[in-house]
Subunit: 197 residues, 2 copies
């Protein structure tokens, strides 16, 4: 059920590349790249842990967050989610982040999209659908999170495309297409709520 448009594979870092720096989040990799005139140049790309986000459906509503982080002045709108831990499977990470950040759980998970936002960074954002979510416990936020969760209607979910504090351009594109195409809108509704709009 991964959309073709979001499924394109970016070129991986070549096998002869060497890691020249390992930071807290980012690794820097370099390799000698043969150019079109036969000369060699040092090329550079990054790796970072993959991230997950969850479109969590509870009843006829969708969970979204208003989030603050210690190094950012302004609150922003987001979906539940975060970074995968080292070697953590993305689905496991998605379930963990949803539980920790919202207290909701689901038994109905679907990998909806995966996307590499930047050619120069080996990094995938996995977007999962968690349908029929049920509230189980209070959220347990870590020391770098201030999160307010709220449940919004499908209409307000489509209107995230107009939210100036929502910074996921790929989802904005998907929402805009759904807003302006009745069939796409109905398809997205069916996918989220498992019934016809």
């Amino acid at each position: 059920m991964i959309k073709k448009s979001a499924d394109r594979k970016r070129d991986p870092i070549p096998s002869q590349a060497k890691r020249v720096f390992r930071g807290k989040i980012f690794e820097v990799w370099q390799w000698p790249q043969k150019m079109y005139d036969g000369t060699l140049h040092i090329f550079e790309r990054l790796k970072r842990p993959d991230t997950v986000q969850v479109i969590a459906v509870a009843g006829d509503k969708i969970l979204v967050q208003s989030q603050k982080q210690p190094d950012r002045k302004q609150a922003f709108t987001s979906l539940p989610g975060g970074r995968c831990n080292h070697r953590e499977n993305p689905l496991v990470a998605a379930k963990r982040e949803l539980r920790e950040e919202t207290g909701y759980e689901s038994n109905d998970w679907l990998l909806w999209k995966q996307h590499s936002p930047m050619g120069k960074i080996e990094w995938i954002i996995f977007t999962y659908l968690a349908r029929s979510c049920i509230f189980k416990q209070r959220p347990r936020l870590d020391s770098g999170e201030k999160i307010k969760n709220r449940l919004i209607s499908f209409k307000d979910f489509l209107n995230l495309a107009e939210d100036k504090n929502f910074f996921d351009p790929q989802l904005v594109i998907t929402l805009l297409r759904a807003k302006h195409d009745r069939r796409k809108k109905a398809g997205l509704y069916k996918l989220l709520f498992k019934k016809h709009i």
Copy 2:
């Protein structure tokens, strides 16, 4: 003429941050960040040179490229543009890139949008309009570029939103909005061609 939505400032790297690595393109910066519970964690962000791209209008057409790069298997669709050299003013870089990659020049430049695609990277993409472009000389490509330029109609420009090999989500959002809103479409046409659609 910078659109408000694209003008938001991302938080800068704090002044107490230290550069811990300097690569070919990316610099890595770290600082101790106070968390909401008072503890300190090392936070990390990157810097990279700003980039420019140009919507170049010649007659009633717009210049787009099919581009190959030595480390990428597939050709992709792009606008003329590239990285700013060290301390190079973005407008100067935009004029240089347009001339080098296409051979076109213009006397009518406008900074249309500036955008920071990623919160964790201090990096701006400047999008310029170059109107009334005139072909002056053959392109001079560097050893890491294979570029085919072509002139497309305004309609085909809007349809870049559907091009699976065009990877600028911010421009896709702008084009989608113009496609589905007659006033926005007319405004974009007027801005590019300086006459009514």
